[in-house]
Protein backbone atom coordinates (compact mmCIF):
# COMPACT_ATOMS: atom_id res chain seq x y z
CA UNK A 1 0.00 0.00 0.00
CA UNK A 2 1.23 3.39 -0.97
CA UNK A 3 1.15 5.90 1.84
CA UNK A 4 -1.02 8.87 1.20
CA UNK A 5 0.77 12.11 0.60
CA UNK A 6 -0.44 15.38 2.04
CA UNK A 7 0.03 18.36 -0.18
CA UNK A 8 -0.74 21.99 0.36
CA UNK A 9 -1.37 23.77 -2.91
CA UNK A 10 -0.95 27.45 -3.59
CA UNK A 11 -2.95 28.35 -6.69
CA UNK A 12 -1.79 31.42 -8.65
CA UNK A 13 -3.00 32.92 -11.87
CA UNK A 14 0.05 34.70 -13.17
CA UNK A 15 3.44 33.34 -14.17
CA UNK A 16 5.44 36.30 -12.84
CA UNK A 17 3.69 36.20 -9.47
CA UNK A 18 4.19 32.46 -9.10
CA UNK A 19 7.87 32.82 -9.92
CA UNK A 20 8.39 35.42 -7.19
CA UNK A 21 6.26 33.33 -4.85
CA UNK A 22 8.39 30.25 -5.48
CA UNK A 23 11.48 32.30 -4.74
CA UNK A 24 10.05 33.69 -1.49
CA UNK A 25 8.73 30.32 -0.34
CA UNK A 26 12.11 28.70 -0.85
CA UNK A 27 13.78 31.67 0.83
CA UNK A 28 11.70 30.95 3.94
CA UNK A 29 13.16 27.45 4.01
CA UNK A 30 10.07 25.65 2.76
CA UNK A 31 10.73 22.76 0.41
CA UNK A 32 8.64 22.87 -2.77
CA UNK A 33 7.50 19.48 -4.07
CA UNK A 34 6.91 20.83 -7.59
CA UNK A 35 5.61 23.85 -9.42
CA UNK A 36 2.94 23.13 -12.03
CA UNK A 37 2.10 25.45 -14.91
CA UNK A 38 0.13 25.40 -18.17
CA UNK A 39 3.20 26.45 -20.15
CA UNK A 40 6.95 26.59 -19.55
CA UNK A 41 8.03 29.56 -17.41
CA UNK A 42 11.44 30.83 -18.37
CA UNK A 43 13.89 31.07 -15.52
CA UNK A 44 11.85 28.88 -13.18
CA UNK A 45 14.60 26.23 -13.08
CA UNK A 46 16.98 28.61 -11.33
CA UNK A 47 14.30 29.71 -8.86
CA UNK A 48 13.48 26.11 -7.95
CA UNK A 49 17.14 25.15 -7.90
CA UNK A 50 16.87 22.60 -10.69
CA UNK A 51 20.01 21.66 -12.53
CA UNK A 52 20.14 21.99 -16.29
CA UNK A 53 18.72 18.99 -18.06
CA UNK A 54 21.31 16.48 -19.23
CA UNK A 55 19.13 15.47 -22.17
CA UNK A 56 21.35 17.32 -24.70
CA UNK A 57 24.18 15.04 -23.62
CA UNK A 58 21.98 12.00 -24.12
CA UNK A 59 21.12 13.31 -27.59
CA UNK A 60 24.81 13.65 -28.41
CA UNK A 61 25.64 10.15 -27.19
CA UNK A 62 22.78 8.58 -29.13
CA UNK A 63 23.78 10.57 -32.20
CA UNK A 64 27.36 9.32 -31.93
CA UNK A 65 26.01 5.79 -31.56
CA UNK A 66 23.84 6.25 -34.67
CA UNK A 67 26.78 7.54 -36.69
CA UNK A 68 28.89 4.58 -35.63
CA UNK A 69 26.14 2.06 -36.34
CA UNK A 70 25.33 3.56 -39.75
CA UNK A 71 28.93 3.69 -40.91
CA UNK A 72 29.78 0.26 -39.53
CA UNK A 73 26.73 -1.24 -41.23
CA UNK A 74 27.58 0.21 -44.64
CA UNK A 75 31.31 -0.46 -44.52
CA UNK A 76 30.78 -4.03 -43.34
CA UNK A 77 27.98 -4.89 -45.79
CA UNK A 78 29.36 -3.30 -48.95
CA UNK A 79 33.06 -3.38 -48.10
CA UNK A 80 33.58 -6.73 -46.41
CA UNK A 81 30.62 -9.08 -46.28
CA UNK A 82 29.72 -8.95 -49.97
CA UNK A 83 31.80 -6.45 -51.95
CA UNK A 84 30.16 -5.43 -55.22
CA UNK A 85 31.91 -3.93 -58.20
CA UNK A 86 29.86 -0.83 -59.01
CA UNK A 87 31.48 0.80 -62.03
CA UNK A 88 34.94 -0.05 -60.70
CA UNK A 89 34.49 2.28 -57.77
CA UNK A 90 35.82 1.56 -54.26
CA UNK A 91 33.78 -0.92 -52.23
CA UNK A 92 33.50 1.32 -49.21
CA UNK A 93 33.57 4.91 -50.46
CA UNK A 94 33.12 7.17 -47.44
CA UNK A 95 31.73 10.19 -49.38
CA UNK A 96 28.87 8.05 -50.71
CA UNK A 97 28.12 6.97 -47.16
CA UNK A 98 27.71 10.52 -45.84
CA UNK A 99 23.93 10.85 -46.46
CA UNK A 100 22.96 7.61 -44.73
CA UNK A 101 25.44 8.20 -41.87
CA UNK A 102 23.81 11.56 -41.32
CA UNK A 103 20.29 10.14 -41.38
CA UNK A 104 21.26 7.40 -38.91
CA UNK A 105 22.81 10.01 -36.60
CA UNK A 106 19.62 12.08 -36.60
CA UNK A 107 17.36 9.04 -36.24
CA UNK A 108 19.22 7.56 -33.26
CA UNK A 109 19.71 10.93 -31.63
CA UNK A 110 16.05 11.96 -31.90
CA UNK A 111 14.60 8.63 -30.80
CA UNK A 112 17.19 8.07 -28.09
CA UNK A 113 16.70 11.50 -26.59
CA UNK A 114 12.91 11.38 -26.75
CA UNK A 115 12.94 7.87 -25.25
CA UNK A 116 15.18 9.08 -22.43
CA UNK A 117 12.85 12.03 -21.82
CA UNK A 118 9.76 9.81 -21.69
CA UNK A 119 11.42 7.38 -19.29
CA UNK A 120 12.92 10.12 -17.10
CA UNK A 121 9.61 11.96 -16.79
CA UNK A 122 7.65 8.68 -16.62
CA UNK A 123 5.51 9.66 -19.59
CA UNK A 124 3.89 6.41 -20.64
CA UNK A 125 0.40 5.61 -21.95
CA UNK A 126 -0.32 3.62 -18.79
CA UNK A 127 0.99 6.30 -16.38
CA UNK A 128 -1.50 7.32 -13.72
CA UNK A 129 -0.42 10.84 -12.88
CA UNK A 130 -1.23 12.59 -9.62
CA UNK A 131 -3.31 15.43 -10.97
CA UNK A 132 -3.32 17.93 -8.12
CA UNK A 133 -5.60 20.41 -9.85
CA UNK A 134 -7.30 19.99 -13.22
CA UNK A 135 -6.91 23.70 -13.95
CA UNK A 136 -3.12 23.38 -14.19
CA UNK A 137 -3.32 22.45 -17.85
CA UNK A 138 -5.71 25.34 -18.43
CA UNK A 139 -4.77 28.61 -16.75
CA UNK A 140 -3.58 28.07 -13.16
CA UNK A 141 -0.09 27.90 -11.69
CA UNK A 142 0.25 25.68 -8.64
CA UNK A 143 3.00 25.46 -6.04
CA UNK A 144 2.70 22.05 -4.38
CA UNK A 145 4.29 21.63 -0.96
CA UNK A 146 4.61 18.19 0.63
CA UNK A 147 3.61 18.63 4.28
CA UNK A 148 5.45 15.52 5.47
CA UNK A 149 8.74 16.78 4.10
CA UNK A 150 8.52 20.18 5.76
CA UNK A 151 8.98 21.14 9.39
CA UNK A 152 6.69 24.16 9.22
CA UNK A 153 3.06 23.67 10.14
CA UNK A 154 0.24 23.66 7.67
CA UNK A 155 -0.97 27.04 8.88
CA UNK A 156 2.43 28.68 8.55
CA UNK A 157 2.85 27.45 5.00
CA UNK A 158 -0.64 28.51 4.03
CA UNK A 159 -0.01 31.98 5.45
CA UNK A 160 3.21 32.19 3.48
CA UNK A 161 1.43 31.22 0.25
CA UNK A 162 -1.32 33.78 0.86
CA UNK A 163 1.30 36.43 1.51
CA UNK A 164 3.13 35.72 -1.74
CA UNK A 165 0.03 36.28 -3.82
CA UNK A 166 -1.82 32.96 -4.01
CA UNK A 167 -5.45 33.25 -5.09
CA UNK A 168 -6.42 30.02 -3.36
CA UNK A 169 -4.74 27.70 -0.91
CA UNK A 170 -6.02 24.12 -0.96
CA UNK A 171 -5.13 20.86 0.67
CA UNK A 172 -4.96 17.61 -1.21
CA UNK A 173 -4.35 14.04 -0.15
CA UNK A 174 -3.25 11.60 -2.78
Amino acid sequence: MKDKKHYILGVFDDDDVVMHAAHDVRHEGVKIHELFSPFPIHGIDDVLGYKRSRLPRAAFMFGALGLTCGLTMMIWMNGFDWPMNVGGKPNAPIPDFVPISFECTVLFSAFGMVGTFLVASNLMPWSKPDILDVRITDDKFVIAIDLDKNKKSKEEIAALLWKTGAKEVNEKEI
Binding site: E34, P38, R52, S53, A110, V114, W126, P129
Partner: protein, 456 residues
Protein backbone atom coordinates in the same frame (compact mmCIF):
# COMPACT_ATOMS: atom_id res chain seq x y z
CA UNK B 1 3.09 44.06 -17.65
CA UNK B 2 2.03 44.32 -21.22
CA UNK B 3 4.85 45.44 -23.43
CA UNK B 4 3.35 47.06 -26.48
CA UNK B 5 5.44 47.76 -29.51
CA UNK B 6 4.76 50.04 -32.40
CA UNK B 7 7.09 48.03 -34.59
CA UNK B 8 5.73 44.55 -34.06
CA UNK B 9 2.00 43.99 -34.20
CA UNK B 10 0.50 41.57 -31.66
CA UNK B 11 0.58 37.83 -32.39
CA UNK B 12 -2.74 37.15 -30.69
CA UNK B 13 -5.53 39.67 -30.93
CA UNK B 14 -8.84 40.05 -29.11
CA UNK B 15 -7.48 40.41 -25.56
CA UNK B 16 -7.50 36.69 -24.83
CA UNK B 17 -6.85 35.26 -21.38
CA UNK B 18 -5.20 31.89 -20.83
CA UNK B 19 -8.59 30.35 -20.23
CA UNK B 20 -9.96 31.83 -23.49
CA UNK B 21 -7.12 30.18 -25.38
CA UNK B 22 -7.97 26.81 -23.84
CA UNK B 23 -11.65 27.24 -24.61
CA UNK B 24 -11.24 28.52 -28.16
CA UNK B 25 -9.03 25.64 -29.22
CA UNK B 26 -10.39 22.76 -27.12
CA UNK B 27 -14.03 23.35 -27.98
CA UNK B 28 -13.48 22.05 -31.50
CA UNK B 29 -12.14 18.78 -30.12
CA UNK B 30 -14.91 18.46 -27.54
CA UNK B 31 -17.97 19.41 -29.55
CA UNK B 32 -19.77 17.08 -31.92
CA UNK B 33 -18.58 17.45 -35.52
CA UNK B 34 -20.47 20.20 -37.30
CA UNK B 35 -22.19 19.79 -40.64
CA UNK B 36 -19.43 21.52 -42.59
CA UNK B 37 -16.83 19.16 -41.16
CA UNK B 38 -18.97 16.11 -41.96
CA UNK B 39 -19.49 17.35 -45.52
CA UNK B 40 -15.80 18.08 -46.07
CA UNK B 41 -14.76 14.77 -44.54
CA UNK B 42 -17.26 12.83 -46.66
CA UNK B 43 -16.03 14.48 -49.84
CA UNK B 44 -12.39 13.69 -49.07
CA UNK B 45 -13.22 10.16 -48.01
CA UNK B 46 -15.16 9.54 -51.24
CA UNK B 47 -12.23 10.96 -53.20
CA UNK B 48 -10.00 8.53 -51.37
CA UNK B 49 -12.34 5.67 -52.28
CA UNK B 50 -12.36 6.60 -55.97
CA UNK B 51 -8.58 6.87 -55.85
CA UNK B 52 -8.32 3.50 -54.14
CA UNK B 53 -10.04 1.98 -57.17
CA UNK B 54 -7.23 3.33 -59.37
CA UNK B 55 -4.65 2.14 -56.86
CA UNK B 56 -6.28 -1.28 -57.10
CA UNK B 57 -5.95 -1.16 -60.93
CA UNK B 58 -2.28 -0.25 -60.52
CA UNK B 59 -1.57 -3.01 -58.05
CA UNK B 60 -3.60 -5.72 -59.76
CA UNK B 61 -2.67 -5.06 -63.40
CA UNK B 62 0.70 -3.40 -62.80
CA UNK B 63 2.08 -0.04 -63.79
CA UNK B 64 1.20 -0.74 -67.40
CA UNK B 65 -2.07 0.90 -66.39
CA UNK B 66 -0.17 4.18 -66.32
CA UNK B 67 0.84 6.14 -69.41
CA UNK B 68 4.50 5.16 -69.09
CA UNK B 69 6.48 3.83 -72.04
CA UNK B 70 10.01 2.61 -72.71
CA UNK B 71 11.34 6.15 -73.07
CA UNK B 72 9.42 7.85 -70.29
CA UNK B 73 9.79 5.45 -67.38
CA UNK B 74 9.09 8.01 -64.69
CA UNK B 75 6.26 10.49 -65.04
CA UNK B 76 3.27 11.23 -62.82
CA UNK B 77 4.37 8.83 -60.10
CA UNK B 78 7.68 10.52 -59.35
CA UNK B 79 6.27 13.98 -60.11
CA UNK B 80 3.65 13.40 -57.44
CA UNK B 81 6.20 11.92 -55.05
CA UNK B 82 8.55 14.90 -55.31
CA UNK B 83 5.62 17.31 -55.14
CA UNK B 84 4.26 15.80 -51.93
CA UNK B 85 7.68 15.54 -50.31
CA UNK B 86 8.23 19.19 -51.15
CA UNK B 87 4.95 20.13 -49.52
CA UNK B 88 6.04 18.13 -46.52
CA UNK B 89 8.91 20.51 -45.89
CA UNK B 90 7.06 23.52 -44.54
CA UNK B 91 5.93 21.99 -41.27
CA UNK B 92 9.36 21.11 -40.02
CA UNK B 93 10.73 24.34 -41.38
CA UNK B 94 8.16 26.31 -39.40
CA UNK B 95 8.62 24.33 -36.23
CA UNK B 96 12.37 23.81 -36.39
CA UNK B 97 14.08 26.62 -38.26
CA UNK B 98 11.69 29.31 -37.05
CA UNK B 99 12.10 27.99 -33.49
CA UNK B 100 15.87 28.31 -33.74
CA UNK B 101 15.45 31.84 -35.14
CA UNK B 102 13.04 32.65 -32.28
CA UNK B 103 10.26 33.65 -34.66
CA UNK B 104 7.33 33.65 -32.26
CA UNK B 105 4.70 33.94 -34.96
CA UNK B 106 5.26 30.26 -35.66
CA UNK B 107 3.37 29.27 -32.49
CA UNK B 108 -0.13 29.45 -33.91
CA UNK B 109 0.56 27.64 -37.15
CA UNK B 110 3.23 25.08 -36.27
CA UNK B 111 0.90 22.33 -35.06
CA UNK B 112 -1.22 22.24 -38.22
CA UNK B 113 1.83 22.69 -40.44
CA UNK B 114 3.60 19.76 -38.81
CA UNK B 115 0.51 17.59 -39.16
CA UNK B 116 0.36 18.59 -42.81
CA UNK B 117 4.01 17.61 -43.18
CA UNK B 118 3.40 14.13 -41.85
CA UNK B 119 0.38 13.55 -44.08
CA UNK B 120 2.17 14.91 -47.15
CA UNK B 121 5.15 12.62 -46.56
CA UNK B 122 2.75 9.68 -46.19
CA UNK B 123 1.24 10.58 -49.57
CA UNK B 124 4.72 10.80 -51.06
CA UNK B 125 5.63 7.40 -49.62
CA UNK B 126 2.52 5.89 -51.19
CA UNK B 127 3.85 6.86 -54.65
CA UNK B 128 7.22 5.30 -53.91
CA UNK B 129 5.48 2.04 -53.06
CA UNK B 130 3.16 2.23 -56.06
CA UNK B 131 5.86 3.04 -58.63
CA UNK B 132 7.81 -0.08 -57.67
CA UNK B 133 5.18 -2.10 -59.52
CA UNK B 134 5.51 -4.88 -56.99
CA UNK B 135 4.85 -3.13 -53.67
CA UNK B 136 4.71 -6.43 -51.78
CA UNK B 137 8.48 -6.56 -52.11
CA UNK B 138 8.75 -2.92 -51.07
CA UNK B 139 11.13 -3.93 -48.26
CA UNK B 140 13.87 -4.79 -50.75
CA UNK B 141 15.56 -1.38 -50.55
CA UNK B 142 16.13 -1.94 -46.83
CA UNK B 143 19.50 -3.38 -45.82
CA UNK B 144 18.19 -6.89 -45.16
CA UNK B 145 20.03 -10.06 -46.10
CA UNK B 146 18.70 -11.13 -49.48
CA UNK B 147 16.66 -14.31 -49.29
CA UNK B 148 18.25 -15.55 -52.50
CA UNK B 149 21.84 -15.02 -51.49
CA UNK B 150 23.87 -12.78 -49.28
CA UNK B 151 23.58 -9.64 -51.35
CA UNK B 152 23.12 -6.30 -49.60
CA UNK B 153 21.66 -3.09 -50.98
CA UNK B 154 24.01 -0.75 -52.83
CA UNK B 155 24.72 2.13 -50.48
CA UNK B 156 26.19 4.16 -53.35
CA UNK B 157 22.73 4.59 -54.79
CA UNK B 158 20.81 7.80 -54.08
CA UNK B 159 17.60 5.75 -54.22
CA UNK B 160 18.77 3.91 -51.10
CA UNK B 161 19.72 7.25 -49.51
CA UNK B 162 16.18 8.33 -50.23
CA UNK B 163 14.75 5.35 -48.33
CA UNK B 164 16.75 6.37 -45.26
CA UNK B 165 16.06 10.08 -45.68
CA UNK B 166 12.30 9.78 -46.12
CA UNK B 167 11.81 7.24 -43.35
CA UNK B 168 13.98 9.23 -40.92
CA UNK B 169 12.16 12.42 -41.85
CA UNK B 170 8.74 10.86 -41.43
CA UNK B 171 9.53 9.29 -38.07
CA UNK B 172 11.42 12.25 -36.60
CA UNK B 173 8.72 14.70 -37.74
CA UNK B 174 6.06 12.49 -36.19
CA UNK B 175 7.94 12.35 -32.90
CA UNK B 176 8.50 16.12 -32.92
CA UNK B 177 4.82 16.71 -33.58
CA UNK B 178 3.73 14.27 -30.89
CA UNK B 179 6.04 15.71 -28.22
CA UNK B 180 4.52 19.11 -28.93
CA UNK B 181 1.04 17.61 -28.57
CA UNK B 182 1.54 16.04 -25.13
CA UNK B 183 0.81 19.13 -22.97
CA UNK B 184 -2.26 20.00 -25.05
CA UNK B 185 -3.52 16.44 -24.86
CA UNK B 186 -3.17 16.84 -21.09
CA UNK B 187 -5.45 19.87 -21.32
CA UNK B 188 -8.04 17.92 -23.29
CA UNK B 189 -7.80 15.05 -20.78
CA UNK B 190 -8.37 17.35 -17.80
CA UNK B 191 -11.39 18.93 -19.48
CA UNK B 192 -12.89 15.65 -20.70
CA UNK B 193 -16.33 14.89 -19.34
CA UNK B 194 -17.07 11.45 -20.73
CA UNK B 195 -15.26 8.25 -19.84
CA UNK B 196 -14.14 7.31 -23.35
CA UNK B 197 -12.45 10.68 -23.93
CA UNK B 198 -10.89 10.46 -20.49
CA UNK B 199 -9.37 7.05 -21.25
CA UNK B 200 -8.23 7.88 -24.79
CA UNK B 201 -6.79 11.32 -24.11
CA UNK B 202 -5.44 10.04 -20.79
CA UNK B 203 -3.41 7.41 -22.60
CA UNK B 204 -2.41 9.80 -25.39
CA UNK B 205 -1.23 12.49 -22.97
CA UNK B 206 1.13 9.93 -21.38
CA UNK B 207 0.36 11.16 -17.86
CA UNK B 208 1.46 14.77 -18.37
CA UNK B 209 1.17 16.91 -15.23
CA UNK B 210 2.82 20.18 -16.21
CA UNK B 211 5.49 20.05 -13.50
CA UNK B 212 8.42 22.44 -13.83
CA UNK B 213 10.94 19.57 -14.12
CA UNK B 214 8.97 18.06 -17.00
CA UNK B 215 8.66 21.44 -18.72
CA UNK B 216 12.37 21.98 -18.41
CA UNK B 217 13.07 18.62 -20.06
CA UNK B 218 10.34 19.22 -22.62
CA UNK B 219 11.92 22.48 -23.67
CA UNK B 220 15.37 20.91 -23.90
CA UNK B 221 13.93 18.11 -26.05
CA UNK B 222 12.10 20.54 -28.36
CA UNK B 223 15.18 22.66 -28.85
CA UNK B 224 17.41 19.70 -29.65
CA UNK B 225 14.77 18.19 -31.94
CA UNK B 226 14.60 21.55 -33.73
CA UNK B 227 18.39 21.53 -34.03
CA UNK B 228 18.31 18.00 -35.45
CA UNK B 229 15.37 18.65 -37.77
CA UNK B 230 16.89 21.75 -39.35
CA UNK B 231 19.68 19.92 -41.19
CA UNK B 232 17.35 16.95 -41.61
CA UNK B 233 14.74 18.94 -43.53
CA UNK B 234 17.46 20.36 -45.76
CA UNK B 235 18.98 16.91 -46.29
CA UNK B 236 15.73 15.27 -47.34
CA UNK B 237 15.06 17.34 -50.43
CA UNK B 238 18.78 17.47 -51.18
CA UNK B 239 18.75 13.68 -51.33
CA UNK B 240 15.53 13.66 -53.36
CA UNK B 241 17.24 15.99 -55.86
CA UNK B 242 20.21 13.62 -55.99
CA UNK B 243 17.91 10.92 -57.34
CA UNK B 244 18.10 13.06 -60.48
CA UNK B 245 21.36 14.93 -60.12
CA UNK B 246 23.59 11.85 -59.78
CA UNK B 247 22.22 10.40 -63.01
CA UNK B 248 23.69 11.21 -66.43
CA UNK B 249 20.47 12.37 -68.10
CA UNK B 250 20.76 15.84 -69.68
CA UNK B 251 18.44 18.12 -67.74
CA UNK B 252 18.93 16.14 -64.52
CA UNK B 253 22.69 16.05 -64.23
CA UNK B 254 23.14 19.46 -62.62
CA UNK B 255 24.85 20.52 -59.41
CA UNK B 256 22.32 23.31 -58.78
CA UNK B 257 19.63 20.76 -57.92
CA UNK B 258 20.03 20.44 -54.12
CA UNK B 259 19.60 24.13 -53.16
CA UNK B 260 17.09 24.67 -55.93
CA UNK B 261 14.96 21.74 -54.80
CA UNK B 262 15.10 22.80 -51.15
CA UNK B 263 13.96 26.33 -52.00
CA UNK B 264 11.19 24.91 -54.17
CA UNK B 265 10.11 22.59 -51.38
CA UNK B 266 9.82 25.40 -48.86
CA UNK B 267 8.03 27.47 -51.47
CA UNK B 268 5.36 24.87 -52.18
CA UNK B 269 5.12 23.83 -48.53
CA UNK B 270 4.34 27.34 -47.39
CA UNK B 271 1.79 27.67 -50.15
CA UNK B 272 0.03 24.52 -48.94
CA UNK B 273 0.15 25.70 -45.31
CA UNK B 274 -1.53 28.93 -46.44
CA UNK B 275 -4.20 27.07 -48.40
CA UNK B 276 -5.05 24.91 -45.39
CA UNK B 277 -4.72 27.56 -42.71
CA UNK B 278 -6.92 30.07 -44.51
CA UNK B 279 -9.68 27.46 -44.61
CA UNK B 280 -9.13 26.18 -41.05
CA UNK B 281 -9.02 29.74 -39.74
CA UNK B 282 -12.36 30.53 -41.34
CA UNK B 283 -14.08 27.29 -40.34
CA UNK B 284 -12.80 27.31 -36.74
CA UNK B 285 -12.98 31.10 -36.35
CA UNK B 286 -9.32 31.37 -35.40
CA UNK B 287 -8.89 34.92 -36.69
CA UNK B 288 -7.48 36.04 -33.35
CA UNK B 289 -4.76 33.41 -33.45
CA UNK B 290 -3.89 33.27 -37.13
CA UNK B 291 -3.90 36.95 -37.90
CA UNK B 292 -3.15 38.86 -41.08
CA UNK B 293 0.38 39.28 -39.70
CA UNK B 294 0.89 35.52 -39.86
CA UNK B 295 -0.38 35.37 -43.40
CA UNK B 296 1.79 38.30 -44.40
CA UNK B 297 4.88 36.72 -42.82
CA UNK B 298 4.29 33.52 -44.74
CA UNK B 299 3.75 35.46 -47.95
CA UNK B 300 7.12 37.12 -47.44
CA UNK B 301 8.76 33.70 -47.24
CA UNK B 302 6.92 32.81 -50.44
CA UNK B 303 8.40 35.86 -52.22
CA UNK B 304 11.87 34.89 -51.01
CA UNK B 305 11.74 31.22 -51.92
CA UNK B 306 9.82 31.94 -55.15
CA UNK B 307 12.55 34.32 -56.20
CA UNK B 308 15.26 31.78 -55.37
CA UNK B 309 13.40 29.25 -57.52
CA UNK B 310 13.13 31.80 -60.34
CA UNK B 311 16.85 32.55 -60.21
CA UNK B 312 17.55 28.81 -60.23
CA UNK B 313 15.46 28.31 -63.41
CA UNK B 314 17.30 31.07 -65.20
CA UNK B 315 20.72 29.93 -63.96
CA UNK B 316 19.98 26.41 -65.13
CA UNK B 317 19.05 27.70 -68.56
CA UNK B 318 22.13 29.89 -68.77
CA UNK B 319 24.49 27.11 -67.67
CA UNK B 320 22.94 24.72 -70.20
CA UNK B 321 24.07 27.13 -72.92
CA UNK B 322 27.34 28.20 -71.25
CA UNK B 323 28.49 24.61 -70.62
CA UNK B 324 28.65 24.06 -74.37
CA UNK B 325 27.17 20.59 -73.94
CA UNK B 326 24.83 20.24 -76.91
CA UNK B 327 22.61 17.60 -75.28
CA UNK B 328 22.12 19.81 -72.26
CA UNK B 329 21.41 22.88 -74.43
CA UNK B 330 18.98 20.93 -76.56
CA UNK B 331 17.18 19.63 -73.50
CA UNK B 332 16.51 23.15 -72.27
CA UNK B 333 15.51 24.59 -75.63
CA UNK B 334 13.19 21.61 -75.99
CA UNK B 335 11.68 22.31 -72.57
CA UNK B 336 10.79 25.87 -73.49
CA UNK B 337 9.81 25.39 -77.13
CA UNK B 338 9.25 21.65 -77.62
CA UNK B 339 6.02 19.68 -77.30
CA UNK B 340 5.91 20.30 -73.56
CA UNK B 341 6.24 24.08 -73.88
CA UNK B 342 2.89 24.55 -72.16
CA UNK B 343 4.13 22.76 -69.04
CA UNK B 344 7.30 24.85 -69.00
CA UNK B 345 5.49 28.16 -69.39
CA UNK B 346 2.83 27.18 -66.82
CA UNK B 347 5.68 26.55 -64.41
CA UNK B 348 7.34 29.88 -65.22
CA UNK B 349 4.11 31.84 -64.86
CA UNK B 350 2.93 30.18 -61.67
CA UNK B 351 6.28 29.98 -59.86
CA UNK B 352 8.29 32.95 -61.04
CA UNK B 353 5.78 35.63 -61.95
CA UNK B 354 2.79 35.02 -59.70
CA UNK B 355 4.59 35.21 -56.29
CA UNK B 356 6.08 38.56 -57.31
CA UNK B 357 2.59 39.99 -56.85
CA UNK B 358 3.22 39.67 -53.12
CA UNK B 359 5.54 42.68 -53.28
CA UNK B 360 2.33 44.70 -53.25
CA UNK B 361 1.24 45.05 -49.65
CA UNK B 362 -2.46 45.02 -50.49
CA UNK B 363 -2.17 41.63 -52.19
CA UNK B 364 0.07 40.27 -49.43
CA UNK B 365 -2.55 41.13 -46.85
CA UNK B 366 -5.56 40.02 -48.82
CA UNK B 367 -7.00 36.68 -47.76
CA UNK B 368 -8.66 35.99 -51.11
CA UNK B 369 -5.55 36.86 -53.15
CA UNK B 370 -3.32 34.81 -50.85
CA UNK B 371 -5.63 31.83 -51.09
CA UNK B 372 -5.71 31.93 -54.89
CA UNK B 373 -1.98 32.52 -55.24
CA UNK B 374 -1.18 29.71 -52.79
CA UNK B 375 -3.02 27.30 -55.07
CA UNK B 376 -1.40 28.78 -58.18
CA UNK B 377 2.03 28.26 -56.61
CA UNK B 378 1.33 24.59 -55.98
CA UNK B 379 0.08 24.10 -59.52
CA UNK B 380 3.32 25.67 -60.68
CA UNK B 381 5.40 23.46 -58.43
CA UNK B 382 3.67 20.39 -59.74
CA UNK B 383 4.52 21.49 -63.30
CA UNK B 384 8.11 22.11 -62.25
CA UNK B 385 8.57 18.46 -61.30
CA UNK B 386 6.68 17.32 -64.39
CA UNK B 387 8.91 19.47 -66.61
CA UNK B 388 12.10 18.24 -64.98
CA UNK B 389 11.11 14.59 -65.14
CA UNK B 390 9.17 14.17 -68.36
CA UNK B 391 10.76 16.78 -70.62
CA UNK B 392 14.26 15.46 -69.81
CA UNK B 393 13.27 11.89 -70.60
CA UNK B 394 10.94 12.06 -73.56
CA UNK B 395 13.58 12.91 -76.16
CA UNK B 396 16.20 10.23 -75.72
CA UNK B 397 19.68 10.33 -77.30
CA UNK B 398 18.41 8.35 -80.29
CA UNK B 399 15.56 10.13 -82.13
CA UNK B 400 13.97 6.77 -82.95
CA UNK B 401 13.15 6.34 -79.27
CA UNK B 402 11.57 9.75 -78.86
CA UNK B 403 8.13 9.49 -77.30
CA UNK B 404 5.44 11.46 -75.57
CA UNK B 405 3.87 10.78 -72.22
CA UNK B 406 0.10 10.90 -71.93
CA UNK B 407 -1.48 10.18 -68.55
CA UNK B 408 -4.24 7.57 -68.33
CA UNK B 409 -7.24 7.83 -66.06
CA UNK B 410 -5.39 5.59 -63.61
CA UNK B 411 -2.52 8.10 -63.43
CA UNK B 412 -5.00 10.82 -62.61
CA UNK B 413 -6.87 8.57 -60.19
CA UNK B 414 -3.79 7.66 -58.20
CA UNK B 415 -2.98 11.35 -57.87
CA UNK B 416 -6.55 12.05 -56.75
CA UNK B 417 -6.19 9.21 -54.27
CA UNK B 418 -3.31 11.03 -52.60
CA UNK B 419 -5.47 14.14 -52.24
CA UNK B 420 -8.19 12.02 -50.67
CA UNK B 421 -5.69 10.50 -48.27
CA UNK B 422 -4.17 13.87 -47.40
CA UNK B 423 -7.44 15.65 -46.72
CA UNK B 424 -9.04 12.69 -44.92
CA UNK B 425 -6.09 12.61 -42.52
CA UNK B 426 -6.06 16.39 -42.16
CA UNK B 427 -9.77 16.55 -41.33
CA UNK B 428 -9.41 13.75 -38.79
CA UNK B 429 -6.54 15.67 -37.21
CA UNK B 430 -8.52 18.92 -37.18
CA UNK B 431 -11.41 17.21 -35.43
CA UNK B 432 -9.71 15.05 -32.84
CA UNK B 433 -6.58 16.99 -31.93
CA UNK B 434 -6.06 20.64 -31.02
CA UNK B 435 -5.14 22.47 -34.25
CA UNK B 436 -3.22 25.21 -32.47
CA UNK B 437 -0.52 24.67 -29.87
CA UNK B 438 -2.27 26.03 -26.78
CA UNK B 439 0.71 25.82 -24.42
CA UNK B 440 2.95 27.76 -26.78
CA UNK B 441 0.29 30.37 -27.46
CA UNK B 442 -0.14 30.87 -23.72
CA UNK B 443 3.61 31.29 -23.35
CA UNK B 444 3.70 34.17 -25.85
CA UNK B 445 0.32 35.61 -24.88
CA UNK B 446 1.51 38.08 -22.29
CA UNK B 447 4.35 39.61 -24.24
CA UNK B 448 2.61 39.74 -27.58
CA UNK B 449 -1.14 39.77 -27.24
CA UNK B 450 -3.37 42.62 -28.25
CA UNK B 451 -4.23 43.53 -24.70
CA UNK B 452 -3.17 42.55 -21.24
CA UNK B 453 -4.65 39.38 -19.74
CA UNK B 454 -7.11 40.21 -17.00
CA UNK B 455 -5.63 40.42 -13.51
CA UNK B 456 -8.00 39.73 -10.67
Amino acid sequence: MQVSSHVRPPLVTGGKTYHDVTNDISKHVESAPNIRWIAAFTVSFLTLCYGLFCVYRTLWFGIGEWGLNKTVGWAWDITNFVWWVGIGHAGTLISAILLLFRQKWRTSINRAAEAMTIFAVLCAASFILAHMGRPWVGYWPLPLPNTFGSLWVNFNSPLVWDVFAISTYLSVSTVFWYIGLIPDLGTIRDRATNTISKIIYGALSLGWTGGAKDWSRYEAVCLILAGLSTPLVLSVHTIVSMDFATSVIPGWHTTIFPPYFVAGAIFSGFAMVLTLMIVTRAVYKLEDYITLEHIESMNKIIILTGSIVGVAYITEFFIAWYSGVEYESYCFINRATGPYWWAYWSMMTCNVLSPQLFWIKKIRRSIAATFILSIVVNIGMWFERFVIIVSSLHRDYVPSSWAMFYPTYVDVGVYINSFGLFFTLFFLFAKFLPVVNMAEIKAVLKSSSGSQPVHH
